[in-house]
Subunit: 287 residues, 6 copies
Amino acid sequence: MHDLILKAETLVEALPYIKQWYGSIVVIKYGGSTRSGNQELESTLRDIVLLKYVGLKPIIVHGGGKDISDFLTRLGIVSKFIDGLRITDKKTMEIVEMVLSGKINKEIVLVLNKLGASAIGLSGKDGSLLLAEKVSKRKSRDLGWVGKVSSVNSEILEKLLQEKFIPVVAPIGMSKTGDTYNINADEVAGHIAAALKAQKLIFLTDVPGIQKRIKQQPTLISTIRLNELKMMIKNKIITGGMIPKVESCVYALQSGVQKTHIIDGRVSHALLLEMFTPDGIGTQIIH
Amino acid sequence: MHDLILKAETLVEALPYIKQWYGSIVVIKYGGSTRSGNQELESTLRDIVLLKYVGLKPIIVHGGGKDISDFLTRLGIVSKFIDGLRITDKKTMEIVEMVLSGKINKEIVLVLNKLGASAIGLSGKDGSLLLAEKVSKRKSRDLGWVGKVSSVNSEILEKLLQEKFIPVVAPIGMSKTGDTYNINADEVAGHIAAALKAQKLIFLTDVPGIQKRIKQQPTLISTIRLNELKMMIKNKIITGGMIPKVESCVYALQSGVQKTHIIDGRVSHALLLEMFTPDGIGTQIIH
Amino acid sequence: MHDLILKAETLVEALPYIKQWYGSIVVIKYGGSTRSGNQELESTLRDIVLLKYVGLKPIIVHGGGKDISDFLTRLGIVSKFIDGLRITDKKTMEIVEMVLSGKINKEIVLVLNKLGASAIGLSGKDGSLLLAEKVSKRKSRDLGWVGKVSSVNSEILEKLLQEKFIPVVAPIGMSKTGDTYNINADEVAGHIAAALKAQKLIFLTDVPGIQKRIKQQPTLISTIRLNELKMMIKNKIITGGMIPKVESCVYALQSGVQKTHIIDGRVSHALLLEMFTPDGIGTQIIH
Amino acid sequence: MHDLILKAETLVEALPYIKQWYGSIVVIKYGGSTRSGNQELESTLRDIVLLKYVGLKPIIVHGGGKDISDFLTRLGIVSKFIDGLRITDKKTMEIVEMVLSGKINKEIVLVLNKLGASAIGLSGKDGSLLLAEKVSKRKSRDLGWVGKVSSVNSEILEKLLQEKFIPVVAPIGMSKTGDTYNINADEVAGHIAAALKAQKLIFLTDVPGIQKRIKQQPTLISTIRLNELKMMIKNKIITGGMIPKVESCVYALQSGVQKTHIIDGRVSHALLLEMFTPDGIGTQIIH
Amino acid sequence: MHDLILKAETLVEALPYIKQWYGSIVVIKYGGSTRSGNQELESTLRDIVLLKYVGLKPIIVHGGGKDISDFLTRLGIVSKFIDGLRITDKKTMEIVEMVLSGKINKEIVLVLNKLGASAIGLSGKDGSLLLAEKVSKRKSRDLGWVGKVSSVNSEILEKLLQEKFIPVVAPIGMSKTGDTYNINADEVAGHIAAALKAQKLIFLTDVPGIQKRIKQQPTLISTIRLNELKMMIKNKIITGGMIPKVESCVYALQSGVQKTHIIDGRVSHALLLEMFTPDGIGTQIIH
Amino acid sequence: MHDLILKAETLVEALPYIKQWYGSIVVIKYGGSTRSGNQELESTLRDIVLLKYVGLKPIIVHGGGKDISDFLTRLGIVSKFIDGLRITDKKTMEIVEMVLSGKINKEIVLVLNKLGASAIGLSGKDGSLLLAEKVSKRKSRDLGWVGKVSSVNSEILEKLLQEKFIPVVAPIGMSKTGDTYNINADEVAGHIAAALKAQKLIFLTDVPGIQKRIKQQPTLISTIRLNELKMMIKNKIITGGMIPKVESCVYALQSGVQKTHIIDGRVSHALLLEMFTPDGIGTQIIH
């Protein structure tokens, strides 16, 4: 009995946070690279179902780099990368879409629904959600069907959030002429958060957050202001896969999102720790 | 960090219960006799605010016997009781109403609102919620303005529950001709639960629940069926203040309420233990 | 038959006024001092029920000075007044609230509902309607729990007016930290009228209205402009209990209320005469 | 002042009736033959505007026999009647419709709107309100375009009553093949009341009501039961223009209308006397 | 089968236009002078029913000059005209209204409903749709009851368009004092289009459109800008019955209507050709 | 011009059919085998967009057998079939889902949106739309992850149809325990039509319809009654891929669907011919 009372107290301790976030839209980027086993997937999605039930409005944007690479390998297709971007020819694009929209997206939807939510999987084609255009050449090389978001048509998301549904978005875009584009999922998350003026945008990653002195003695930055972050980007202190995440944070904050977070998805219940404890985890980027 | 993760796990463990009760109406009788200090009051009401935020629709019905007695003493009014019912003359009735509607009801509303809810205090007069009629004589004695519920006009409760409000009801009834009646709060709770076809009716008391062999070696009954309970009432195994509670349970169950509970309000977080743990506490009465 | 036809003609004569006020919010301060007998209470409230049925949206704010004094006397509590304000210690505050919220408020609700309305009694605690703060010292004396309105949270009033209900408000306020304050009812009426941008604010008093040459040869002022009234306040021509009424009128008019009235509640059907006859009665204060 | 107070009292005396009829649909047949001068028209319609403002939902059905006859005479068209029904050839039908829909209907709408209502004139063609079919021959004579109601499509009436409008209906029907029919206005009133399950159906006529011993010593029948009325019809005690009225009453009562009335439209404020006095006037027909 | 496939292709060709106009309000002036036979009437109205079913919101405003003249002749009333305006005394006004509201309006409603629409006939009196005032003298002659639109009260039109109804408007206006005015139907169409900020205003006439060099070698102007048109009016190149049409176009365009059209109603399916073919027919006037 | 008028006439000829089907739900099974080239796809989907714009509520269910086979071949996976059902192991199931949900479904959505619709792609996992269970063994062989529909949770479809969206459904089901099943698309179409009580269920196939004497001298059956069809099934006159289609028709008709059709998707505008011509094409199955 004593144990149960302690557990009840834990619920009560969460009340101030539940009140704080009640009714808030939270866009969660759930990266492909955090998906090493099903147990972690299910644990993270259960946390999101909990957020839904205590009154938040989560939207999930997922990536899928590793699964795509695995599948291309099975088909004997070799990918080249420039600046971390996969050169995407027609055949590759077909596989990218099938893995993102037909495999990962539906797996996330399935697990959420099994856990008691009502999730709807979307790609940027559904309801013309993500209009995209071709990215410019890098190092004089055409990247093929790699796109960037030109506008977000958030109507279907708004309808689903008014009802009880959790939208799950695959980072595929369409052009007005009917072409299909592969878009960076971090960028998609930032644009969706911006279009909906979300209260929060959270990146679940496989690092502790933004770190300083990353080469010598890396130290986590708990809170950083938008201006400081811009300086870090300019000074190339931010590198690699962290770049699209911080750029999305910058874009989202400048478009009316209240707070953005880069946290360590490998930590158990990382989302709940971020939302429901006083200190949070990882790095928060604020105005 | 480890502690925080354990706490997050506790939240996640509550998810199946939150899902189960999502959108459910729960009528909670919060007895005057459990109110020995403000800390307990605040703790109980904080649990109710939590229930509200995780998607339930709580309604509170309160009593106030002790406060009434205190106040009558201060005014030099001596009460007589027959079968545990206070003989209520005009002067007494005035004080009863002032204490219930003007003191206890508003104190509960104040604490709930301070804790972040939006509570509305009502008596049976508001929106003609509780139509009452005089109880019959006991032992040939007229009991004065002691009433029983003749009908519940639940419209105002339904409107408040559609919005974000928590209704808090004082057990005062009105007759069609404009008289005021003092009604047993347990009875009011049962009738309101019945009128709204609540999913649950919970009595917070100062005993562990319904017990058997209460004189020799009292043992708590965890679950009892409606028929068994009726037999216990008929055989006068149930006695004293427990009688109106069990009669309310019987009435509510027969009117479409799914489950009723008699639990020990002195246990910390009794409500949460009842709603959010597999075994619950106290006695549950089922069909 | 002839008499009945004359009566029908009277109804028809009221039509232009009914059209004029259709859908209007009218805040009515019903002072404690007008309540000498139940017959007058019932007559006034019947007029208000009629206003409701012909399409207006009345809100009642009541006081209760005399009843409070009577009750304090019964309990042997002696009140001191400074500038007409009752020094209100903890014990006094408890009685003030019980009389206002538990006796007068519920009596008004009861009579309205008996007459066919659907009234809901509220205090400033319900739905956190009236946030209050302590008034400053008067003549270097702390007045205890005497408060003034710091903000009106009119959501519950708006919901009730959208439905068929008549709100009845007791002048009790709450602070964010959970303290209870005694507020002047005239001030509450003015703030509620202002928050709802009411079409009319009417004070039912026990004088004919605002009078000039009040000491020599008092003459009723039928209509006065806001600026003239301010001058009268500045020149201390307005005195005593009339001060909070005229200050409320000034505040309400400056906050968007269209017209305010100070009329003689002792006149039979004073409200109907004000609303439904060409000249009205008492004093009207206009922009 | 005393006079004004007496008038206010008259308003208050009407309150119980206003409460009783609040929200009720009342179908009023306003016969052409009651229209001897504009003053009477305006007086009757003002009463109806008053009914609207105090919460009822009036629908007016009008006739227009005299105006039609006048107009036909101006055009040199001579009408023949069989059993009181005008033989209606194509040319006559055109004039009948123009007088009913283009003159009387619009005049009633104009006066209502001038008096502050928002009236909408309809014929049975608008929204396909009245589907009609040809009546059978009388005394072996074809009556031309005289029709009877085959069904009421009440959708447009329901939409208008949900909003603030007063529908005014001319007794013209249409067939599915696009023919136009002249229908008895009493019959139309009865069918509309039946289709809407109106609370009341009132015929404003130019006689005191239903009378017994009409040839010797006519006496008004205040109240008559449906069965008694049927017997009077069977025994041919009811004759002439009263027949379609009583048949409509029978049809309406059998279709769910609560009460029907035949009253003397020549009496000033006949409608208000019927609705707002204890005895009413004319004859009421009840179940 | 081949023919049917060609027909299906025609439907598909219309799709881009259907998409373009989906949900648009289109005010259609259907002139009396286009009504030489019922077949043309039915053909035009069938086109309008089709517009309704493919998602547009048509409103019809009709005239009726020829029918009015015919009827006045039958009654031996001789009309005089000044500047093309009929001098309208009381007797004439009565006939004008009966023909417009009681004959033409109801005939259009009847045909629309027979074709499967749900049309509601209105005049400017219904819902006080068209408030009118007297036009000034022409050549020192009073024109009697000839009016111009002083304001449009479009509430009833908006309610009908929200539902499934097609409003059909007769060009009759009312003054606040209850007088009836005869208004030019072209002017009414322009004011209604302006009040509703319609996407399109279309005049169905009996000429090909606006023509240049009308006396020598008339040539149709396909598209003309507002400024050019104003210049043509100023230079008196526009004459006769075309003047009120172009003035209405100017007024509508200046009040927010997107495009106005003057087309030849004698051409089969003129409306469909205008809306559903790339070039349209007649003259379009644009900003 | 003459040609354009003929085209307009064709639009008008479609009006009776547009009226007939206005607001109707039509479930369209669009088989994989009809998809030989993009032009046919686009032509069929444009017809569906047209149906949407003229007021119908289409839902598309698609298959994808050929694409799945192609893809499995590329991955070197060989499929075995029993009774025309693909034995579906885990690896095959993964590819089946990726092709259906990630390739074909999104391609259909893309084309519809490019053509001006707002389509949303779903699989049976989204909103838990299709609950499935394992089919029983065939010829003693376990078929792996081949499922049948156990229930349809149509909530998400209803929400999308209330708004402006066209749902596009891939025939993938989920079990309560989170397994994925491959379901026959014909069966899915029948169950969705049944769950929504659709007005029509149409199978677009690559044969002319149901034929009799199929081996000697095949003749198309235009209309067949449910009972006759059942007899043909029982007598094994229906064979091969036609079996699941006719079984779906039987199930849908018995569940409240009004009419079902099996038509030749290779004919240009087959859907429009079926819906908008008097004779239709293919076979219709009626009660």
